[in-house]
């Protein structure tokens, strides 16, 4: 494992999450080691997105704790959020009034000031090189998602949190997504994603969420 660039693992103990003031998840436990992927499954409203947002630090925890570990050393949550987390939500994080290229260059400076990857290579990779100077608002839903995927590549970060990343992607796009995820795992990266039936990663662990708590 010493050759892998990422060595951060993720542990969740007895996590309780709320959405809009309602307690929707309780007692969630899991561990994700470097190189592992966890697929969260569950019906609509089961709390998959809420759990993911809690992991990103966007929502307050009702109970339990989230640990990011390097070996057995606990890492600072704020440090992790600032440098080691990618969150790819339904909203993509794409600014529609900026062009494709402007989105990418601003991410590059904000997320990875010392990065060396070329925007044009990234656009090639996700198949958007012909759209570089288009306003992001003109992209289709799948193209916006592809643009959002470049964010994962611009800044090398250990932990990827993805909310139904395969949505809106065509089969070629899904293959690309799988390839990116597998490359990330081979480097010791951690992936937590939500998905409905139909998308999964090879030998990923699964966790079924159910609305056990409604109080």
């Amino acid at each position: 494992m010493g050759t892998q660039p990422y060595q951060i693992s993720l542990q969740i103990h007895d996590l309780g999450v709320e959405r809009a003031g309602r307690h929707i998840l309780a007692g969630v436990n899991f561990k994700v080691a470097p190189g592992d992927a966890l697929v969260l499954r569950g019906t609509n409203g089961a709390g998959k997105t809420s759990l993911l947002r809690a992991l990103a630090g966007f929502s307050r925890l009702l109970e339990g704790e989230i640990l990011f570990l390097n070996g057995s050393e606990r890492l600072d949550l704020e440090e992790i959020a600032a440098n080691q987390l990618h969150y790819l939500g339904h909203e993509n994080g794409v600014s529609l009034k900026l062009s494709v290229l402007e989105n990418i260059t601003s991410w590059a400076v904000l997320l990875a000031p010392d990065n060396i990857s070329q925007a044009s290579d990234l656009l090639d990779k996700v198949g958007l090189s012909l759209m570089a100077n288009e306003r992001a608002s003109r992209l289709s839903a799948g193209q916006k998602r592809r643009l959002a995927l470049t964010r994962l590549l611009i800044a090398p970060r250990a932990i990827w949190l993805m909310d139904e990343p395969a949505t809106a992607l065509d089969s070629e796009g899904q293959a690309l997504l799988t390839e990116l995820c597998q490359t990330h795992r081979a480097r010791g990266g951690v992936i937590v994603l939500t998905a409905h039936e139909g998308f999964s990663l090879p030998d990923a662990k699964g966790l079924q969420l159910s609305t056990g708590v409604t109080a």
Partner: protein, 217 residues
């Protein structure tokens, strides 16, 4: 440092592509140019009320510019990206508010010069007016943006922002018009305006950051 500068530039570009900046400036110029038509051609009256009138127009312009501020950023997930950077959220909000002032308020204080002349004010009054707007509008921008952040999660929250802003804008309006009119209490009025802007600058980014956190939960 570099990241902060990039964010400011990106933010100014985004605001310039929105409708808020041109709408605010358009309102200010149009209202200023139309005022003599409705108020009559009594020069003394126009000269006497010009500072107060233009301060009201500036407040309205600043409010108009708040339309939709931060709403797209929330719904497009931009804040989710910005929260996962090394920039603290209060600094992000400070830079966004600064960009808002540059795009919406700065053009107004430049436009105040020709509009002041149009209303017949003498050069000294016009200069004082522009200067008082320069000192006072940061307070309007920061407080307005702060309220916009609080209401960003509400559909059609701008109406609420306008009502909430009224009491906060009143001090700037009172002392801004005083400072622009000149007279004995001009220096005191300028000092009050500066203090008001500085307090807004020191507190609003933190309040807005807390509001955005709350809106994202």
């Amino acid at each position: 440092m570099n990241a902060g500068f990039t964010l400011l530039r990106q933010e100014i570009r985004l605001r310039l592509r929105g409708s808020a900046g041109p709408a605010a400036l358009g309102l200010f110029i149009l209202a200023g140019a139309l005022a003599p038509l409705s108020l009559g051609t009594n020069d003394d009256l126009l000269i006497a009320i010009a500072p107060g009138l233009l301060w009201i127009f500036a407040c309205l312009a600043a409010l108009l510019g708040l339309e939709g501020l931060f709403q797209d950023d929330l719904s497009e997930g931009r804040f989710a990206v910005l929260r996962l950077t090394t920039l603290p959220l209060w600094l992000v909000m400070l830079l966004m508010m600064l960009a808002y002032w540059i795009v919406v308020c700065a053009p107004v204080l430049i436009a105040a010069i020709p509009i002041g002349f149009l209303l017949g004010a003498d050069p000294a009054t016009t200069l004082r007016l522009s200067l008082s707007l320069g000192v006072g509008t940061p307070a309007l921008a920061f407080i307005g943006a702060c309220l916009a952040a609080i209401c960003a999660g509400l559909p059609r929250g701008t109406g609420l922002v306008i009502f909430l802003a009224l009491p906060f804008f009143a001090p700037a309006l009172i002392f801004g018009a005083r400072a622009a009119s000149g007279g004995d209490d001009m220096v005191a009025a300028f000092m009050f305006l500066s203090a008001f802007s500085l307090i807004a600058l020191a507190t609003c980014p933190f309040i807005a950051a807390a509001a955005i956190r709350q809106n994202m939960e």
